[in-house]
């Protein structure tokens, strides 16, 4: 009996590191999605909603910091691409700016930037569950 052994070149694909990135992204997305809902409740008269909005806003940058670490691990040693880490660094700064403008009550920046942050986090979370996120750097280049 002959067994067919396929000798593919050994490529390192992210697996465990991808799952940690996915879990971080889900947590991040859940917190971020809560923000516009809470803001909407506050603006329609529910005064307590702003305390939750403020406390989530004051802590969500920590989740972004954890996400920088998991995205870097996804890159190395995971073998995935680097851009998720770079995008997360941008997100981290954006969330700080967002926090500042929130406390300054400058909504001309706070509302559009908030929209952009929500879209970016949700898009990253969706991306992480698509087959392309499983690819190694070398495979993704092709």
């Amino acid at each position: 009996m002959t067994t067919l052994v396929t000798t593919e070149p050994k490529v390192r694909r992210p697996r465990a590191t991808l799952w940690t990135l996915r879990i971080t992204l889900l947590l991040h997305a859940a917190l971020i999605i809560a923000q516009p809902i809470l803001a909407g409740y506050f603006l329609s008269g529910d005064v307590d909603a702003i305390t939750a909005h403020g406390s989530i806003g004051s802590t969500v940058w920590m989740v972004a910091m954890i996400q920088i670490v998991t995205a870097l691990l996804y890159w190395r040693p995971g073998g995935g691409r680097l851009w998720p880490a770079l995008v997360t660094v941008v997100l981290f700064f954006a969330e700080f700016v967002q926090l500042t403008y929130g406390y300054l009550q400058n909504f001309a920046v706070h509302v559009p930037l908030g929209t952009a942050i929500v879209i970016a986090v949700v898009w990253m979370a969706v991306w992480s569950f698509r087959p392309t996120a499983r690819l190694s750097r070398q495979e993704a280049k092709k």
């Binding site: 516009p36 509302v111 559009p112």
Partner: protein
């Protein structure tokens, strides 16, 4: 992809008619895809103005709301146009997802206008963000897909 039922050199009338219909569909497909891409792009750009104007309004400039309102109403019009073009593209060989997603976006936009006028911000703000995300995602998706060489096969029986 079904193999052609007739060898290519057969010149039976039915085969020629099928060939003609396919060519016609392909030309409509190409003619519908370009406007669909344009209208989806315009839709995405216009909807990005809405959170900016809403923020400026919340800062105290009442004039921003006088721009937020007509843009919101025109977005419904753009949504209707996108639905028509997406339907034409789907019927000539495109994907059914295009009109389906557009229909969902349009329904969301109508609801969004209603919630805006009735000042129900607990719905208006999260729904608004979802609509911005959905519209941008649709525009990116339709502009990224490569144009396939042939539309869905229609084989004459």
């Amino acid at each position: 992809m079904t193999p052609p039922q007739q060898p290519p050199f057969t010149t039976s009338g039915i085969y020629l008619i099928a060939l003609h219909v396919d060519r016609l569909l392909l030309s409509v497909y190409m003619k519908a895809l370009v406007p669909l891409r344009l209208v989806a792009g315009l839709h995405a750009v216009a909807i990005c103005l809405q959170p900016v104007l809403a923020g400026v309004y919340l800062n105290g400039a009442g004039s921003a709301l006088r721009m937020h309102e007509p843009i919101g109403l025109s977005l419904v019009g753009i949504g209707v146009a996108q639905l028509l073009i997406a339907t034409a593209w789907w019927r000539t060989g495109g994907r059914a997802v295009a009109p389906l997603v557009t229909l969902l976006l349009l329904a969301g936009e109508v609801l969004q206008v209603a919630m805006g006028y009735s000042r129900q911000l607990a719905v208006h703000i999260p729904l608004g963000i979802a609509l911005v995300a959905g519209t941008i995602a649709f525009a990116v998706w339709i502009n990224r897909r490569r144009t396939p060489a042939r539309p869905r096969q229609r084989v004459a029986a």
